[in-house]
């Protein structure tokens, strides 16, 4: 027999007594689920029947939702108490209470007002809560249940019932499908590794010797660019020459890295190394941003080089073909533009991955460079040049005594400027 509104009460009793077959139980659950307006509760416990009685009172099962002030009062007081405690009424009670409110709004309002009068302190916020909080969840039952199903808010039993119902009810199945699409797909955006490493903090800890040397290696290169940077490019009309200001720069560097660890590192000045520069190569780059944007640098020292326009400045991003080193250079660049240049280079996968991990990350060359650039920005001119050295292993970098790339720039008048790349050896003494 099919369960319908005319006979379902008889089935409820059989259901609760456990005398229905499995298929009949499923049909009953589906009927209860499909007719929320009947307020059928299949989880209610049967009253104990004494052995002396042959009958029991089943009137409570006839849930045609007659106003039951006692039940509503009970739920409403629970809600008001929970509201005072800043707690939450349990989910099924919320739902039940909202059913009463919908079916008997007048009685509901009167009862709520009378109960509120019993509280000594004014129940501020309760009305707001009623209006915006608990009881204005999506009213359509299928929507409500489907979201609860997806959010994991259903009890195990409700969950199972919902799944069965969604399989047999094509409309509910479509609703489930549609709500499933509202779950945001995984997002793959990640921060560049260098950016994350800059977030990390330096600790006072013992650093391995090889790392001292790596610090020195990176610092000397930055040091070198202080010299290059001191060139006044607007006044140089031919290929630039090194014009080191060793006295101040060395002192600045000592201040820049003024701590116990770096005090023990002795630098050999860059000019001595620059004398050894070889394999110099030049590229002339146009002054016109529209010309030099995305210009591929044709240089024998560069295996992959590109000029990108950064509004009023440019960035050279290059990977040399001789050593695993990348260069990021900025000219007439604002501090925040420098950040953008770094990140743009990272986005283009033109920089080799940052080698340092964990606690050593704060010692990255990029961090040194950034400090150098920021330091430079505080000086009298606004030019800045910087180099970022990124290697697969700082230890390998030192042990193999690899060369480094430097570059110079020279104004070429109407033709633009000349970019000169040079390779030099770097030596550190501990």
């Amino acid at each position: 027999m099919k369960i319908d509104k005319n006979n379902y009460e008889a089935y409820i009793l059989d259901y609760l007594e456990g005398t229905l077959s499995q298929s009949e139980r499923g049909a009953m659950e589906l009927f209860a689920f499909s007719h929320p307006e009947l307020g059928i509760d299949l989880e209610v416990e049967l009253p104990q029947v004494s052995s002396s009685e042959n009958t029991m009172d089943v009137s409570y099962l006839k849930k045609t939702l007659v106003w039951n002030e006692e039940e509503v009062s009970h739920l409403m007081i629970a809600f008001l108490e929970a509201n005072i405690d800043g707690a939450e009424l349990n989910f099924s009670s919320q739902h039940r209470l909202s059913q009463w409110e919908k079916a008997f709004s007048a009685n509901y309002g009167v009862l709520l007002a009378s109960l509120k009068k019993t509280y000594i302190q004014p129940l501020s916020g309760v009305d707001e809560s009623l209006r915006t909080g608990l009881f204005v969840l999506p009213e359509d039952h299928a929507d409500f249940k489907t979201i609860a199903y997806l959010e994991g808010d259903l009890s195990a039993r409700e969950h199972a019932v919902y799944e069965r119902a969604s399989l047999s009810d094509s409309k509910l199945n479509l609703t489930l499908l549609n709500y499933g699409k509202t779950i945001l797909p995984p997002s793959s955006e990640e921060l560049p590794t260098l950016f994350k490493n800059e977030l990390k903090q330096k600790g006072a800890k013992v650093i391995p010797i090889w790392l001292y040397r790596s610090i020195a290696a990176a610092a000397v290169v930055v040091f070198g660019f202080f010299f290059l940077n001191n060139l006044d490019l607007t006044e140089v009309h031919q290929t630039a020459e090194f014009n080191p200001r060793t006295q101040t720069s060395k002192e600045q560097l000592a201040e820049e890295f003024n701590d116990d660890e770096t005090d023990r590192v002795i630098f050999r000045t860059i000019e001595a190394e620059s004398d050894k520069a070889n394999d110099m190569a030049e590229t002339v780059i146009s002054n016109n941003p529209s010309d030099f944007q995305n210009t591929v640098v044709d240089n024998p020292l560069v295996s992959q080089g590109i000029i990108t326009n950064m509004n009023k400045s440019y960035a050279l991003v290059a990977t040399t073909n001789t050593i695993p080193v990348s260069i990021v250079g900025d000219y007439l660049i604002e501090a925040d533009q420098f950040e953008l240049a770094i990140h743009k280079a990272l986005d283009a996968d033109l920089l080799i991955d940052e080698p340092f991990t964990g606690d050593y990350a704060y010692l990255t060359p990029l961090a040194l460079v950034r400090r150098a650039v920021l330091n430079k920005m505080g000086q009298e001119d606004e030019q800045s040049l910087a180099i970022s050295l990124v290697n697969t292993s700082a230890k390998e970098l030192f042990d193999e005594k690899e060369d480094f790339i430097v570059y110079e720039k020279a104004n070429e008048g109407e033709n633009g400027f000349k970019l000169k790349l040079g390779k030099f050896s770097l030596e550190t003494i501990r």
Partner: protein, 161 residues
């Protein structure tokens, strides 16, 4: 929280925080700024913040800073940007995720926030409430309402398509 634990927080949560901020602002530089500010504050307070609470602290800080930024910016500007964005994407959709992104951006800010925290980070109602300074029950309602609107939007777009 020790320095090592702080640095571990960068490894573990920076990408998550960035994604959250990126979805909220729709702007990578702004999202990175918010991430940076959040970590700066965490570092300043690291001695008083328990490592286990660090993720929540970061998200709460980032969320509050984002709200502050919104308040600082002119309301008009935000409305205009929102209008431009919606207009830009109203004609063509490449796939479901794009439609969903569009729908998400149409939600009230708080609904968008709680759904992002729920779906991307898997936060509970209580945890989201802690971040957004709401009660768990309010978070739940906002999520339900948001899902309903998202579904309605997706269905309406499908009808058009």
């Amino acid at each position: 929280m020790t320095i090592s634990e702080y640095n571990a927080c960068v490894d573990e949560y920076a990408d998550n925080l960035y994604r959250f901020m990126l979805k909220q602002t729709g702007d990578s530089p702004s999202a990175k700024d918010l991430v940076q500010e959040s970590y700066l504050k965490l570092w300043q307070k690291h001695e008083n913040v328990d490592y286990k609470k660090a993720k929540s602290y970061l998200f709460t800080t980032g969320y509050n800073k984002m709200i502050d930024n919104y308040r600082k910016n002119s309301r008009q500007e935000l409305i205009q940007e929102s209008h431009v964005k919606s207009h830009m994407h109203s004609e063509q959709y490449s796939d479901l995720s794009e439609i969903l992104e569009e729908a998400l951006n149409k939600l009230p800010e708080i609904q968008k926030t709680v759904i992002i925290l729920r779906d991307y980070e898997g936060y509970s109602y209580d945890e989201i409430g802690e971040i957004t300074n709401l009660k768990a029950s309010q978070v739940k309602v906002y999520i339900y309402r948001g899902r309903l609107k998202l579904k309605e939007y997706l269905v309406s777009v499908e009808h058009v398509l």
